[in-house]
């Protein structure tokens, strides 16, 4: 055992850690305790009422579409950028600047992405407040996460595999396609799912680009507005701050959103564990 001051420091760190866990635990407990009773098949599959009660079906569908759109845009773009940056681009000043820009982008507040999306996609490109504009905005927001985690996954593939492939007369692209990507994709997916989980829970980027306040119908095309879980939660809290009638719906919506994001993250962890076992070199 170390000196007294060392023990005191460890104790302090331990208390802080417990405190953090306690806060998260309390929030979870509160949401689950109050939300679990609301969860029912009809809550998940019916439309909301104008007074804030009722089901959340359109919000679930809206979030699903937004997540899907975000994946379709961000995944190919992020993976391609990562492949270019790690495998092709000359390592040097320009590359470092690009990396710095990406990392900085990852730290930009989500409301800034929302405003950017409003300016570029909704107004300038005239997509209107729509699934398309919202998905593109969310994609911009999580692109840095996907690029950074994809780069890490690519760098984790041993250089010796690339050399083995090149030495057999493979071109660079053949090597990437056959001996790098197959082993990097699980890691890329893991990082991407975590990014998508974040996109699913964000309110600010969709606030100005896609989300409908109250829209008890499903979208017909990518140019339609949709409701979304985080925004629905925001509206329920802001529009009916004291209405006890809405309280259960708030908890229920929060719980569904929590389960969705938790599910995505657990999926990512399971995927990573699975492929860690497979890729041993």
């Amino acid at each position: 055992m170390g000196s007294l001051s060392e023990r005191a420091a460890f104790l302090g760190l331990r208390i802080i850690t417990y405190f953090v866990v306690l806060v998260v635990g309390y929030i979870l407990f509160d949401i689950i305790k109050n939300g679990i009773g609301v969860l029912s098949w009809s809550f998940l599959t019916t439309y909301p009422n104008p007074d804030g009660t009722g089901g959340i079906f359109p919000a679930i569908v809206g979030t699903f579409y937004l997540v899907l759109g975000t994946i379709l845009v961000a995944l190919p773009l992020g993976m391609a950028s990562a492949v270019y940056l790690t495998e092709y681009a000359k390592q040097g000043f320009l590359n470092n600047q690009i990396r710095l820009a990406i990392v900085t982008l990852a730290g930009v507040p989500s409301i800034v992405f929302g405003l950017f999306g409003l300016g570029l996609f909704v107004l300038f490109l005239n997509f209107g407040t729509s699934i398309l504009a919202g998905s593109l905005t969310l994609a911009c927001m999580i692109l840095p996460t996907i690029i950074v985690s994809s780069e890490e996954a690519l760098r984790a593939v041993p250089q010796t595999l690339r050399e083995a492939s090149l030495a057999l007369g493979a071109t660079k692209w053949e090597t990437i396609r056959k001996s790098v990507l197959p082993y990097a994709i699980p890691g890329m997916m893991t990082g991407s799912i975590l990014g998508v989980g974040r996109a699913a829970g964000e309110t600010a980027p969709i606030l100005l680009t896609v989300a409908a306040f109250f829209l008890p119908q499903l979208p017909g095309s990518v140019f339609d507005q949709v409701m979304a879980l985080p925004y629905h939660l925001y509206v329920l809290a802001m529009q009916f701050p004291n209405a006890e009638t809405v309280r259960p719906t708030q908890y229920g919506t929060a719980l569904v959103l929590l389960l969705l994001v938790l599910g995505l993250n657990i999926g990512a962890i399971v995927l990573r564990a699975h492929f860690r076992k497979r890729n041993r070199w």
Binding site: L168, G169, T171
Partner: protein
């Protein structure tokens, strides 16, 4: 200081006279990693269907030199080369040289065995598939022949579809040799192929090298003096990026011309 071999000459070996044809000719080779020069004015001729060993202390440039022969150094940013390397009289650094074709002709086995995390079959099939062989029967035959030549067939013929990573270290290295042989190279470069193996696995690799020498021109980097003496016909001694001496292995080990070579071989340093 720089000793180059005559283009063709005869020598007494195993009491049989052997005619040697030059396969690789290296002239005034300088090599740089960025600003750092790694090889200085290398001149050497590698004879066809012989085993040439490159020896020397760590960091002497022997691996760098080996990797210039199949242009593997190209993949490192900021490397530069001066001088010429010809294989069968063709300059492999001439602009317009197809590196893919070159690497097909010049196979390589690495220090650390690096099988793909695929099945044994897929590992050996990797090269042939790249070069357009699709026919299942042709592939199967090619893979069998390659594994036989690498001395691995008997051990793996019943489990070709099992992961290559389940093989022992020595088996993995022989698999890498089979994989290199499957694209039918003319030259085989080996970068300390046995340095990570136990003595028995090492002996198997050395036996294999002796068996392959009739069909392939082999250049092997080794740290192990006894290994160089056992497997090679010619030996080149590198130090500090320079080729100190190259000669018939027997002569190098019994009667080296240079004092540095003698010191190194007798273990006075390095």
């Amino acid at each position: 200081m720089v000793i180059s071999m005559p283009a063709a000459f005869s020598l007494e070996k195993d009491t049989k006279p052997v005619d040697l044809k030059p396969k690789v000719e290296v002239r005034n080779l300088n090599f740089y990693y960025g600003q750092t020069q790694a090889l200085f004015g290398i001149n050497i001729t590698v004879p066809e269907n012989q085993v040439t060993a490159l020896i020397g202390p760590s960091g002497c440039g022997k691996s760098t030199f080996l990797r210039t022969l199949n242009r593997m150094n190209d993949i490192i940013d900021g490397t530069r080369l001066e001088g010429s390397i010809t294989i069968d009289g063709q300059d492999i650094y001439r602009s317009g040289t197809d590196v893919v074709t070159l690497r097909k002709r010049v196979g390589m086995v690495f220090q650390k065995s690096n099988p793909f995390p695929k099945s044994i079959f897929e590992n050996v099939a990797y090269g042939p598939r790249l070069h357009g062989i699709r026919d299942k029967a042709v592939l199967a035959e090619l893979i069998e022949q390659s594994l036989i030549r690498a001395g691995l067939w008997e051990e793996v013929k019943d489990r070709l579809l099992r992961s290559a990573l389940d093989l022992s270290g020595g088996q993995q290295q022989r698999l890498c040799i089979a994989r290199a042989l499957a694209v039918d190279p003319e030259i085989l470069l080996m970068d300390e192929p046995a340095s990570a193996l136990d003595p028995r696995a090492t002996a198997r690799i050395e036996d294999l090298i002796s068996e392959l020498r009739d069909e392939y021109t082999i250049v092997i980097v080794t740290h192990n003096m006894q290994q160089a003496a056992r497997v090679s016909d010619f030996t080149a001694f590198f130090m500090e990026g320079k080729l100190v001496e190259s000669d018939v292995t027997e002569k190098m080990f019994t009667n080296p011309k240079e004092k540095q070579t003698e010191d190194y071989i007798t273990g006075r340093f390095g």
